[in-house]
Symmetry: C2
Subunit: 147 residues, 2 copies
């Protein structure tokens, strides 16, 4: 039941807020495309069947500052929310550079050539995989640990 | 101009996403009341006049797990956003337990007795102050450093 609520938040959240550790030790948060959002990425709906329900993929620029941060420290947090309610989902765990070309190809969306002209194997296109360690659901006043 | 956009995001964001460092080294993110949101806290509109534009106060439960995290590591990040657009504001800096009773009294909202029955000086009521070190504005594709 709690798990269903958590999965629904992920499916509906407009973005995923990813926090990495900056090289100066200060955390740094930014919004990332939420590839599990079914409205934004309808073509990926069946893609997720092969993965753990809380496993997350991100696409990013290889040249972005977060890449250096991730190489230095793989510990990150993710936050998803429904801004209209006070429902929030926090996950933390490790993030890694993902190399499976077969899966990267499946994840690739045609419209991304706008950001990565070379397509899925553009050298500036990197796929990141998040492996959850802890999953925490926040409802108005209560906190529930799901993992 | 960029600064005005940043201040507008803070004033309108439904919540502030605060990331602290967990005791296990993993960052942890949660939504906090955005006391600078003028719709949610109209009575506080003039309160902010005396403070730096990017200085932020939070109220929290003294018994919450974030308190132990903050005592262990004061480095945090804050994220504000307008979920409809891709406008986001990231700040990082240090957070401290704030003790000025005069100001805590001014910040206090009557409806918070729901969470802190003893009022502004309820032992479970803590005010936190965030002192910014870096302010980063994210628009659709560009990133602007404001501090």
């Amino acid at each position: 039941m709690m798990k269903d609520t958590a999965l629904k938040i992920i499916k509906e959240a407009p973005a995923a807020y990813l926090t990495t550790a900056g090289l100066d030790g200060y955390p740094e948060t930014r919004a990332m495309l939420n590839l599990r959002n079914e409205k934004s990425f309808p073509k990926l709906k069946s893609f997720w069947d092969g993965f753990n329900e809380f496993e997350i993929f991100f696409t990013t620029n290889t040249s972005s500052s977060k890449m250096g941060q991730i190489k230095n420290n793989t510990k990150v947090s993710l936050y998803y929310c429904n801004p209209a309610s006070w429902l929030g989902l926090m996950m933390n765990g490790d993030i890694e550079i993902f190399k499976d070309e077969e899966i990267i190809k499946k994840l690739w969306q045609e419209e991304w050539t706008m950001y990565y002209p070379g397509g899925y194997n553009d050298p500036d296109h990197t796929v990141l995989r998040f492996i959850p360690k802890r999953v925490k659901l926040y409802s108005s006043l209560a906190v529930h640990d799901l993992l």
